[in-house]
Symmetry: C2
Subunit: 517 residues, 2 copies
């Protein structure tokens, strides 16, 4: 089928009378056309304007469907040139007969991904095939989970940056730029600015019971770089890493592109819960979120912590502790870090200022065992050639002057209120039908959807209404078998906007899930 | 031999009468003790204070020797705990009988490096062995070329950051922080801020004859991240990349840690010069510096450019063009970029603001072929989770207001004068005995040393006198076979300090090389 006859083919199949939203029908039909190769890899799809016109539907609907297909890896769009069926379309990845193919691309099926990028795959456009990404590149793109939108209700994982004390920050900036210190404008020594490492060591010792000297702290640009550094120094391609299932999508990409095989480990109410089968095959590394399981929110029990540490000691595994969201705990006191319980130097602790200050700052840190400190500092300078020392100096002073802890305190109160407002709105609309979990800490909660419902469709319908939520299933290794739910970030939404935004979200839910229609 | 008896062993062997500097003798003796395993892996060496006292020599000398041994991978120091013989000491790497072992660690002898990190290597301290880095980690550390010092005469590759228009920058900063835009404080969309991509496209089209739209520009944190991204998207572990020999040490580490095999290709007066043997085995990628070969400074000829492009087109290789130092060309006009000659979309162009503004800024960019733009933008957001949009907004305005080109113009004049001052000082002291090359462009020149002289010893002797230069041999794949020379960076040295600093450097040269004593 040539792209030019696509409109006719679609027009014959769209059914306004069957009760299914047009958005959903169009999405399914285009997936079908691509999976069946009726729309071959490399072919151009009509512009959203043209297709909307020919089908007599809203252009917005077409745009949203195209965006969804881009996210799922079915098509890619080159600005100014149009939208094309992806070279490594999900059909080639698993030969799957249905929409779940897109999910498969997100799993760690490396062999299949290789097939996708193999030069022998029959592409109708040899020139485009020659441009093919490498195997790891194609797999990275196919599995990419990053969103096109980074700000707005209910973006998960984003703090209210408008409350950041901009005046204090500007004062510090002007101070450092007035009396310019050349050593702050050049490359960073490995590990980062000493003043910041000292301030951080004090803070982490006091607030998180982390045991460390300033020399054990390595300043990075955030969790991604911290994990990248740890993985490259402590593991080799083919090594296995335990990841929690579900876990943060972004870290999976960082692990895979460095050649690690991740083994998803189920979580229960006490956190990561390896089965006897899992325990029989010790991994090289494990990546855990003990303070606040991401994204579900449970706290790892003390018993589980002790078990993990003992297991890691016996089998010489490294534990990467992502202390995500530990600062924002409503009600109960934050638990001490896993690193603080570690007596044999097996834990690599990672944290960042992205949630406590603002994401765009790009300052994070690792705390590494003493014996590794020098190697991590050297490798960081060697691999990333870091700078931003002036910003690090500002941040060190910001912490030392007490602005950091005071900002966290204020935000904890504010986010706690917003969380309650959201919970109230949800319970008012749905009662106990859609329970929320994971709200005791952090910047988001998870609203569970009825079993069997497609949370990706709900998220897409919400986006159509300008509301950003993320489908819970996307955080699992096998989305098609995962529970259905929505990550709803409340921290960045002004108090008065929460209820209206939730109403809009509930419109999307009701329009997508028949039981609420 | 226990560390406590090391002082006696050394005292018996140091010979003040043999004409060799004490620094050099001590360095060799410690290398011997480690290579022969008389000082076993993991053992602690005496503090510099104690050893200096017991040997009756200056503490500075001991400190410098220790620092040199750290750089070479023989020992590692943990602040507050002392200095230890490295787990992966060079003896285990190649079993080499002499000081060249350190060089071997810098070559791409992956098999040997594996042996070093193998858990079977007999370490006397099992606990430390358990802390061992992975194979790629150990290799990265063994080959690390990053310097502990990042500012001072004659640090190569660093511009004069004190001349940066700090007032303009502060004004822009205050403007953006006064009216806070939340979208500038959160995560970056893949590819970076649109305003900066537009400003950059205009600049690169005009100044560097780069053919691109703003969408083809991907903002990164610098050359390291740009190369990392290109390599991960376009190559797989085991793929071969051609690198120039010599080349920038930092990029080699980035390539190796991603599993690439680099094949060093000789350069001649026209730039990279692949032999028939090289040409018979097309690589997946090549990394070249056509505008100003780094570090030798020659410009790639038009014939060579055409040959490379045609070869890459025929064999489907990607060319990464590092347009290093292209802005600072004294006398002749800068040549157009290789990318501008490319008609088949095979060139990935990389550049950064590190040399034109200040290194600590950490903003660089890629220009990628149109067909890859979307994939690069997605992968960048997915792998690095970038931010720093406010800084990108400031930079876009800085460029649009004309400050960028005006600053480059001023610096070009200033650096041209400093280059001449340095050349005058060198020719006054050494005449034609030590010729300088590569000074037509860039921020450094290369002073050639007599054949057979050890440029690392000269650099170490200079560092002892607080002068930073880098040995040319360290930029080659096989330092032991490389020509001897010094990279001397003049850009960051105030005019009046150049001649005195060169005098100090010549003291170090004269003290190390007998022909000048």
């Amino acid at each position: 089928m040539r792209a030019s006859v696509l409109s006719d083919w679609l027009a014959q199949r769209l059914d306004r009378g069957n009760g299914q939203p047009i958005y959903r029908q169009l999405h399914r039909l285009l997936q079908q056309a691509i999976l069946s190769r009726e729309l071959p890899a490399g072919s151009k799809v009509p512009s959203s304007r043209l297709l909307a016109q020919e089908l007599g539907i809203g252009r917005n609907t077409v745009t949203q469907v195209y965006e969804q297909l881009v996210l799922e890896g079915y098509v890619s769009s080159a600005t100014g040139r149009g939208t094309f069926v992806a070279d490594s379309a999900p059909d080639e990845i698993v030969g799957a007969p249905d929409a779940e193919a897109a999910d498969a691309a997100r799993t760690r099926n490396a062999g299949a991904a290789q097939a996708a990028a193999s030069p022998s795959s029959s592409s109708p456009l040899p020139q485009q095939a020659a441009r093919a990404l490498s195997t790891r590149g194609a797999r990275l793109i196919a599995g990419a989970g990053v969103s096109k939108r980074q700000w707005g209700a209910f973006m998960p994982g984003v703090p209210d940056v408008t409350k950041f004390p901009a005046r204090v920050w500007s004062r510090l900036h002007n101070k450092y730029w007035r009396r310019l210190r050349p050593d702050l404008l050049t490359y960073a020594p490995g590990g980062g600015l000493a003043a910041l490492r000292h301030a951080l060591a004090d803070y982490l010792r006091t607030s998180r019971s982390v045991r460390c000297t300033p020399e054990q702290i390595i300043v990075t640009t955030g969790i991604h770089q911290s994990v990248d550094l740890a993985v490259r120094l402590l593991s080799d391609p083919g090594d296995v890493i335990w990841t929690e299932d579900p876990c943060y999508w972004g870290v999976r990409s960082v692990l895979h592109v460095s050649g690690l095989q991740s083994r998803p480990i189920a979580v229960d109410a006490e956190g990561i819960n390896p089965s006897p089968d899992d325990l029989a095959q010790p991994p090289k590394l494990m990546l855990v979120t003990p303070s606040h399981q991401y994204p579900l929110g449970m706290v790892m029990s003390l018993a589980r912590r002790r078990m993990l540490l003992e297991y890691a000691r016996q089998h010489q595994c490294w534990i990467i502790e992502d202390d995500y969201d530990s600062e924002f705990r409503y009600g109960s006191r934050p638990l001490a870090s896993l690193q603080g319980l570690d007596t044999s130097g097996q834990v690599i602790y990672v944290g960042s200022f992205g949630k406590t200050l603002f994401p765009g700052l790009r300052i994070g840190y690792l705390v590494v065992p003493e014996a590794l400190a020098e190697s991590f500092a050297t490798a960081s300078a060697e691999l990333y050639r870091e700078g931003q020392l002036l910003q690090q100096a500002m941040l060190a002073e910001f912490i030392a002057e007490g602005h950091f802890t005071s900002h966290i305190r204020k935000m904890r109160t504010l986010y706690g209120q917003r969380r309650q407002t959201l919970l109230d709105a949800a319970s008012q609309r749905y009662g106990d039908a859609l329970p929320a979990v994971g709200g005791d800490a952090g910047l988001h909660l998870v609203m569970q959807l009825p079993e069997g419902s497609d949370d990706r469709l709900v998220a897409a319908a919400a986006l159509e209404r300008n509301i950003i939520v993320r489908p819970l299933s996307g955080y699992y290794a096998q989305p098609s078998l995962a529970p259905s739910g929505l990550l709803i970030g409340y921290a960045c939404v002004p108090d008065e906007a929460i209820a209206p935004a939730f109403n809009t979200l509930s419109d999307a839910i009701d329009a997508t899930l028949p039981q609420f229609a």
